[in-house]
C-alpha cells in the first residue's frame, strides 16, 4: 500500500483497540472472551485466539467512510441488528465511522464536510464501505448533495486503503442491475480496478459476516483470502448445499413437492421447490440468522442464491435448478412446426428427384453395349 500520509499526527498508544478497551475498564478476561467470539465470528479456528488477541491489542482505530448508492438500506439494517451486540459495539467503538448517511447526526453541508475531512486526514488509510449499485446510464438517477454516485465513488475511492462493497448490489449490481437494468447500474468492481476490493454479497449479507470482514481488516490489517468472485473464503468458501442439514434428504432423493405436503412437514430437501443452495456460496447454513436462530431453509423456504451475481435473473425462485430459464416448450413447438414443413418439403423434393431419375432412366441393351466396340 502506498503511503500518502505525512506523519502529521503521530498515532499514540491511546489509538489502539487495547488501550481503548482498558480505558473503558474492560478486563483482560473479558477481552479474551471477546477474542474467542471474534474468532468464531471470523470463522477462524479457536487456536487462533491468542494471535487475534495480540493483533487486536495493537489494532489502530481505522476511519471508515460508508457510502450508500442505489440501495434499500437493508444492508445497514442488517448491520445494525448484528446479534453479537457486545462484540459489535466494541468494534464500532474502535472504528471511527466518519460518514454514513443513515446513521450520522450531521446533515447537509456538514455531512459532506465530514466526509471530505475524513478523506483528507486519513488519506490512503481509510476503509471505504459501499452499499448499493452505481447508475452509469444516467448519473441523474442517484445523486448525493448534487454529486453523482459515480463521481463520489471515484473521488472517495482514491484515498481508500481498501473498498468493501457490502450487499449484492454493490458487489455485483444486484436488483438495480436486474433485467432490463433501467439505470445502467454497475457494481463497484466494474468501475474500480486499482484498489483492493473485498465483496461481501448477500441480500442483505449476514450481519456477523459484515462485521467479521471489518474485524479481519482491523485485526490483521490485511485482506482476507478471496474466491474468484472477490468474496472472503472464510465466509463464502462453502456452498449452502454442502453445509445444509437437509443434505441427507437430497442424497436420498426425498424432496418436498409443495410447501404444505408431507415432505415439507418432515423437513425434506427443498430442491424441487427451487432451492439454489447447490450453486450458492454463503455462511447461512452454519452462522444462521437472528442470533443463530435459523436460516431460510431451516424455516422451510428454498435458498434464493442472493449472494451470487445475477440472482434476480436466474429464472424463477421456485423452479428447480435443473429447469431451463427460458420458454423452451414454446420454442420447441415452433421448431417442431417448422420442421414438419421443411421435412415435408425435403421429402417432396426427394420424391420429385427420384421420379425424375426414373423418368430419365434409359435401358441399355446388350446391342447398345456391343455398338461401342
Amino acid at each position: 500500500m502506498k503511503k500518502h500520509i505525512t506523519e502529521a499526527e503521530p498515532i499514540g498508544d491511546d489509538d489502539t483497540l487495547g488501550a481503548a478497551l482498558r480505558r473503558q475498564g474492560v478486563s483482560r478476561r473479558s477481552f479474551l472472551k471477546f477474542c474467542a467470539a471474534t474468532a468464531s465470528m471470523m470463522a477462524l479456528p479457536p487456536s487462533m485466539v491468542p494471535a487475534i488477541a495480540k493483533a487486536l491489542e495493537r489494532a489502530k482505530r481505522p476511519s471508515v467512510i460508508w457510502l450508500s448508492f442505489q440501495e434499500c438500506t437493508g444492508c445497514t439494517e442488517s448491520l445494525t441488528r448484528a446479534h453479537t451486540a457486545t462484540v459489535e459495539s466494541l468494534i464500532f467503538d474502535s472504528i471511527s465511522l466518519d460518514y454514513h448517511h443513515t446513521l450520522q447526526a450531521a446533515a447537509g453541508h456538514a455531512a459532506e464536510e465530514a466526509r471530505e475531512a475524513a478523506m483528507r486526514e486519513n488519506f490512503g488509510k481509510y476503509l471505504l464501505v459501499i452499499d448499493g449499485s452505481i447508475p452509469v446510464g444516467n448519473p441523474g438517477y442517484s445523486t448525493i448533495a448534487g454529486i453523482s454516485n459515480l463521481d463520489m465513488l471515484l473521488e472517495t475511492a482514491k484515498g481508500a486503503a481498501a473498498i468493501i462493497p457490502v450487499g449484492t448490489c454493490a458487489a455485483y449490481g444486484g436488483i438495480p442491475q436486474a433485467d432490463p437494468n433501467p439505470t445502467g447500474a454497475a457494481s463497484v468492481a466494474d468501475l474500480i480496478t486499482d484498489k483492493p476490493i473485498i465483496n461481501v454479497p448477500g441480500c442483505p449479507p449476514i450481519p456477523v459476516v459484515i462485521t467479521g470482514v471489518l474485524t479481519h481488516f482491523l485485526t490483521f490489517g490485511t485482506l482476507p483470502e478471496l474466491d474468484q468472485l472477490g468474496r472472503p473464503k472464510a465466509f463464502y468458501g462453502q456452498s449452502i448445499h454442502d453445509r445444509c442439514y437437509r443434505r441427507p434428504f437430497y442424497d436420498k432423493g426425498q424432496f418436498a413437492e409443495t410447501f404444505d405436503d408431507e415432505g415439507a412437514r418432515k423437513g425434506w430437501c427443498l430442491y424441487k421447490l427451487g432451492c439454489k443452495g447447490p450453486t450458492s456460496y454463503n455462511a447461512c447454513a452454519t452462522t444462521k440468522w437472528n442470533g443463530g436462530t435459523s436460516f431460510p431453509i431451516e424455516s422451510g423456504h428454498p435458498c434464493l442464491g442472493c449472494s451470487e451475481p445475477k440472482f434476480w435473473d436466474g429464472g424463477s425462485f421456485y423452479k428447480a435448478l435443473s429447469i431451463p430459464t427460458t420458454e423452451v416448450a414454446r420454442d420447441a413447438l415452433y421448431a417442431g412446426a417448422a420442421a414438419i414443413a421443411v421435412g415435408s418439403a425435403l421429402g417432396m423434393k426427394n420424391r420429385a428427384s427420384s421420379k425424375q431419375a426414373k423418368a430419365e432412366h434409359q435401358k441399355v441393351s446388350v446391342d447398345d453395349l456391343n455398338k461401342e466396340d
Binding site: 474492560v26 478486563s27 483482560r28 478476561r29 473479558s30 479474551l32 472472551k33 471477546f34 474467542a36 467470539a37 474468532a39 468464531s40 465470528m41 470463522a43 479456528p45 479457536p46 487456536s47 485466539v49 446479534h83 453479537t84 451486540a85 457486545t86 462484540v87 466494541l90 453445509r243 445444509c244 442439514y245 437437509r246 443434505r247 441427507p248 410447501f259 404444505d260 415439507a264 412437514r265 418432515k266 423437513g267 447454513a285 452454519t286 452462522t287 442470533g291 443463530g292 431451516e298 422451510g300
Partner: protein, 141 residues
Amino acid sequence: MVTAPFPQFNIQNGDDLTRNVRPLLYEIRHALQDLLETGESRVVDLRSIPLAPGEEEKLINLLGCGEVVVKLEALGLSEIYETQYPGVWLVTHFNTDSSIIGRFVEITLIPEILKAQQEDMKDSLLQLDEALLSGDDREVV
C-alpha cells in the same frame, strides 16, 4: 381432519440428520486422549459445524454435566461447566443481551478464560496497594 395452523417440522432429536454428532464425540475423545498423553488442549467451535435443529442439544445432553459449574460476568454472562467427562468442558458465551455469541467444547485441564490474567493481576496489585495506602482496610476492620 384438523390441519395445523402452521407447518409442523417433524424433526426429532434422534433423527441425527447431519450425522455430525458422533464424529464430534470421536473428535472430543481423541482430544481427550491427546490431553492425557501430551498435555495438549483443544477447543472445538460448535458454530463452525453444520448441525440440524436439535443436534446441538443432543450433543450437550450426551456430554451431561459434571462437578464444576462456573458463571462468569465478563461483557455479559458466560456459562462454563465440566461435563460428566472430566477434562471436557462446555463454554457458552452470552452478550449483554443474553444471546449466545459463541459455544465451544474445550478439552483441557481448566479453560483458559477461568485463569486470572497477568494484566488483570498487575492492575489488582496496584489497586490493593492503593487500598492499603489509603488506610481503607482499618476502617473496614
